[in-house]
Symmetry: C2
Subunit: 513 residues, 2 copies
C-alpha cells in the first residue's frame, strides 16, 4: 500500500467521505487511490476558491468535514480567500495539498512555493508529511483537528513521494474532543447578572444559532428581559416560522451603535465582541458602548447547548412560546426593490430551504423580511472575502444530501469572483437557484466613496462600475451548463423562482436591479 492509498483508507475510516478537488500532477497517486478505493464522493471545482468554498458550505450543513485536494502552493493560494471565510465560519476542513517531492523541493522548480507559509494564517493545524508510513497517522490527526470544536482548517501537505512510496499504514479514527463543558461558577455568575441587571445583551454565535440552542436562549431572554442578537456574520442561522426572530448586529456602524446603545452588559455565547468591519476616521472600532461590560458564557470552543441549558435551568426559565411572525406575504409585483425581492423569497421559499446570502449592499434588508417564511437555514459570508456565496451554496447543497432547495442570493460583483461554481452545480445536478442581483456596479464601494466626501469622478467610477460592457449572466450561466433567464420585474422573478424549484438541477435568475 502506498501513502496515497493509506490516506484514502484513513479518511474514510475517520468519516470523511467527500472530497472537493482540483488536482494536479503531484496528486496523481492520490487521484489513483480515490479511483480504486470505493467510498469517497469526488467533486471537481474548476478553480480552487470554488473548491475551498464548497468545503466550507459542506461543513456548515453536514456538520462534519470534507477534504479538499489542492495542487501545490499556488493551488492552495487560489483557494485562500474562501479558506479565510471558512476560518471565520469556524468550519472544519481537512485541507489536503499535494506538493513537490521532498528531495525535489530544494531545487526550486517552477511551481515550488512556500506552501506551509501560505497555509498557516488560515489553518488551525499545518503538517507536512515526509514519509509514506506517516501519511495515515497524520491524516487521522488532521481529521481530529478539523473536528475539534469549534471546527478548524487542518492543512495536510503531502509531498508526492510520501504519496507514491510504498509502506503506507492505515490509521484508526481518533477520538474527537467534546466541546468544552460549561463551568458551573460561570453559569451562576451569568444567571445572577441576568436576574439583577437590565440592559443585558446575549450575543449568540456559531453553534448557539442552531434551532435548539436558540430556543434555549429565547427561554432565557423571556425569563430575564435580556435582548438577543446574533453576531453580524454567521456561518448558519436556523430561522423562519417557529424560531425566534433574531436580529444580527448591523453592518453599518451608526446603525449598529444605535442598536447597542442601551446595552450595558454583553453576554458572549460562542461569540466575539462586535467589532466594526472596517475603521473609519473618527469612529470607534467597536459597536458596543465604551463602558459595556463583557461576560463570557462560552468561548468559541465551548458547548453552547450545554451552557444555555444549564443557564435556563439555573434561572428556572420556563418554556416560552415563540411568537408567530404573522402571515406569509403574497409575492409582490412591479419593479424590483430590496423589500420586493425579500418578499418574493419569503413568499416562495420551500420548507427547509438553505439560503446562501452574499447579497452585499442590496440585500442588507433581506434578513428581517424573510423570517416569516417556513423554517430554513441562512448562511452568510463570514470573513468578508467576497466570492463565497456561490461555492458555499454548492457545497451546502451537497452537505445537506442534495434534497434541500438552496437559494443563492448573490451580488453580481461578488459573483464574478467564483462564477465557476455554476459549472459544478450543473455537473452535480444540484437543486440550487441563484438569483444574481445585477446592479452592474460595486454599489457598496460607491457608498463608501461617498463617505470619503465626494462624488466619484470618471477615474473612480472606472474602478467602481461594472457596466461598459454589461455582464450578461444568462449567457455566462448557459456557457457553464446552467439554465438561466433574466427578470426585470418582481413577477418574473417570482415565476422563475417558482419554476426553478420544480426542477431537479440548478437554475440562475439574473435580476436586473
Amino acid at each position: 500500500m502506498n501513502g496515497a492509498q493509506s490516506l484514502v483508507h484513513t479518511l474514510l475510516k475517520s468519516g470523511v467521505d467527500t472530497c472537493f478537488a482540483n488536482p494536479g500532477t503531484s496528486e496523481m497517486h492520490f487521484v489513483a487511490a480515490l479511483d480504486t478505493i470505493p467510498g469517497m464522493r469526488c467533486v471537481l471545482g474548476l478553480q480552487e476558491n470554488v473548491v475551498t468554498g464548497m468545503a466550507d458550505g459542506y461543513f456548515r450543513l453536514a456538520g462534519k468535514p470534507a477534504c479538499t485536494l489542492l495542487h501545490c502552493g499556488p493551488g492552495l493560494s487560489n483557494g485562500l480567500g474562501n479558506l479565510h471565510n471558512a476560518r471565520r465560519a469556524r468550519s472544519g476542513i481537512v485541507n489536503i495539498v499535494g506538493d513537490q517531492a521532498t528531495y525535489h523541493r530544494p531545487f526550486d522548480a517552477q511551481l515550488t512555493a512556500d506552501t506551509e507559509g501560505w497555509a498557516r494564517p488560515v489553518s488551525a493545524w499545518v503538517r507536512t508529511t515526509t514519509k509514506s508510513a506517516d501519511v495515515g497517522r497524520d491524516a487521522a490527526v488532521a481529521v481530529q483537528e478539523a473536528r475539534t470544536a469549534p471546527g478548524g482548517i487542518a492543512t495536510l501537505i503531502l509531498p508526492s513521494d510520501a504519496s507514491w512510496d510504498e509502506g503506507g499504514l492505515v490509521a484508526e479514527a481518533l477520538p474527537v474532543p467534546a466541546a468544552v463543558a460549561p463551568d458551573p461558577a460561570t453559569i451562576g455568575k451569568v444567571a445572577k447578572l441576568l436576574r439583577e441587571k437590565r440592559n443585558v445583551l446575549i450575543l449568540l454565535g456559531g453553534p448557539a444559532l442552531c434551532a435548539e440552542n436558540q430556543a434555549l436562549a429565547w427561554r432565557i431572554a423571556q425569563a430575564s428581559g435580556a435582548k438577543l442578537l446574533a453576531e453580524g456574520s454567521n456561518a448558519r442561522i436556523a430561522r423562519g416560522r417557529g424560531r425566534p426572530q433574531l436580529d444580527r448586529v448591523p453592518y453599518v456602524g451608526e446603525v449598529a451603535r444605535k442598536a447597542l446603545a442601551s446595552l450595558e452588559h454583553i453576554v458572549l455565547v460562542n461569540a466575539k465582541p462586535p467589532v466594526s468591519f472596517f475603521a473609519y476616521p473618527g469612529k470607534p472600532s467597536f459597536h458596543n458602548r465604551e463602558d459595556a461590560v463583557f461576560h463570557v458564557l462560552t468561548r468559541l470552543e465551548g458547548d453552547a447547548g450545554a451552557a444555555l441549558a444549564a443557564l435556563a435551568d439555573e434561572m428556572g426559565a420556563p418554556e416560552a412560546a415563540i411568537p408567530d411572525p404573522g402571515p406569509r406575504p403574497e409575492a409582490p409585483r412591479g419593479a424590483p426593490s430590496p423589500e420586493g425581492v425579500a418578499n418574493v423569497v419569503a413568499a416562495l421559499m420551500p420548507e427547509n430551504a438553505i439560503i446562501s446570502d452574499e447579497s452585499v449592499s442590496y440585500g442588507r434588508g433581506f434578513f428581517p423580511l424573510t423570517h416569516v417564511a417556513p423554517p430554513h437555514d441562512w448562511l452568510q459570508l463570514t470573513g468578508g472575502a467576497i466570492g463565497d456565496g456561490m461555492p458555499v451554496a454548492t457545497g451546502a447543497a451537497i452537505g445537506s444530501g442534495g434534497q434541500r432547495r438552496t437559494i443563492s442570493l448573490q451580488a453580481d460583483g461578488s459573483a464574478m469572483y467564483s462564477l465557476q461554481s455554476l459549472w459544478t452545480q450543473a455537473r452535480e445536478k444540484l437543486p440550487v437557484t441563484t438569483i444574481i442581483l445585477s446592479n452592474r456596479k460595486y454599489q457598496i464601494l460607491i457608498g463608501e466613496y461617498a463617505g470619503v466626501g465626494a462624488n466619484p469622478g470618471p477615474t473612480a467610477m472606472n474602478m467602481l462600475d461594472l457596466g461598459n460592457p454589461d455582464l450578461n449572466w444568462v449567457k455566462i450561466a448557459e456557457g457553464m451548463g446552467v439554465e438561466a433567464a433574466q427578470a426585470t420585474t418582481l413577477e418574473t422573478l417570482a415565476d422563475l423562482l417558482a419554476q426553478s424549484m420544480s426542477r431537479p438541477g440548478p437554475f440562475l435568475i439574473e435580476l436586473v436591479i
Copy 2:
C-alpha cells in the same frame, strides 16, 4: 495632502502610470486620490488574479512596473497565483495592498488576515507603512525595488489610516541600480571554455532573450560551436523571422534529458539549471547530465547584454547571418491538429504580434512551427500556476501601448481560472484574439495519470474531465462582452483569426479539438 495623495504623486514621479485595480473599502482614499490627480491609467479586473496577471503581462512588454490596488489580505491572496508566476517571470510590480487601519487591526475584524505573511513568499520586498508621512518615501522605495534587476514584486501594505491621515509627503524618484556589470575574469574564463571545449550549451534566460542579446548569443554560438537554448519557461522571447531559431529546454523529462545528453558544460546567462517541473519516481530531478559542469556568465541580476557583448568581443566572434527559416506556410485546412493550429497561427499572425501561450499539452509543439512567422514576442506561463495566459495577454496588450495584436493561445481548463480577463479586454477594447483550445479535459493530467500506471476509472475521470456539461466558450465570452465564435476546422479557425485582426477590440475563438 493625505497619505493616499502622496502615494499617487510619488508613483507618477517614479514613472508608474498604470494601476491594475480591484479596490475595496479600505482603499477608498487611494481611489479618491487617483480620481483627482491626473496621470494614472486605472484598469479594473473583476478578480485579483486577473489584476496581478495583468501587472505581470504589462511589465513583460512595457519593461517597467505598473502598480496594483488590492484589498486586504484576502484580496492579495486571490492574486497570489499570478504573483507567483510574475515572480518566476522576474517581473517588476509595485503591489499595493490596502489594509485595516493600524489601530483597528488588533481587533481582528472579519477581513483581517496575515497580509504580510501571504505577501512574503512572492515578494522581493515587503513593507507595511504605518504613518501618512512615510507613504511617499515607502512608495518610492517600492518602485526602486520593483525596478531593480532582474525585477521583483515590491509589496507595499497601506493601512487605511496611513492613507487618510493628513501629512503626506511626495517623494522624489529614487535611482534604479543598474544590472550587475560583467566581471572581466568571468568573461575570460567562459571565452576560454568556449574555445577549448566542445559540447557546450549556452542557456539563456530573462533579458538574454531580447532580440539584441539573442543576436550576440548567436554570434558567440557560431564562433564557438556551442549550442543555444532558452530556459523551459520564459517571460518573453523575441523570435520569428530574422531572429535565431531558439529551442527551449523541453517540458517532458525524457525529451529534455535527450536534448541535453551530449552537453558536458552549461553556461548560464541569467538562467538557472534545468530542473524538472516535477519529480517522478526513479527519475532524476535535473535534465542535464549528472556530470555536467555549470558556468555562470551572469546571475539573474546580471547585465546579460553587456556580458554577451563582452564575450563576443573577447572571442572575436564576427557578425553572423541569421538563417532564413524558409517560406511561411499557407494556412492549412481540415480537422484541427496541434501542427495545423500552429501553422494557422504562423501563416496569419501579423508583424510584431504578441503571443501569450498557455496552451499546455496541446500546444507543446506550437513553438518550433511558428518561428517562420514575422518577428513577434512569445510570452509563457513561467511559474506553472495555471490561469495566467489571459491576464498576461490583457496586461501585455496594455503594456505594449494597445497597438500590437495579441494572440492568446489558451487551454480551456486553465482558461477557467481567470476567465474574468475577457471582461477587461472588452472594457479596454484591447486587440486580443483568444483561441480557446477546447478539449474539455485536463489532458496533461490524463497523461500524468497514465504515468502512474493505469487507465483512469470513473472517479478519476470525474476529476480530469471537463465535459458533463461542456463549457460553451462562445456564450461565456459574449456574457462578458467579447464577441466570439466557434471553429471546428482549421479553415474556420483561419477565417476567424484573420477577421479578428481587422477589429479594434477583442475576439474569442473556441476551437473544438
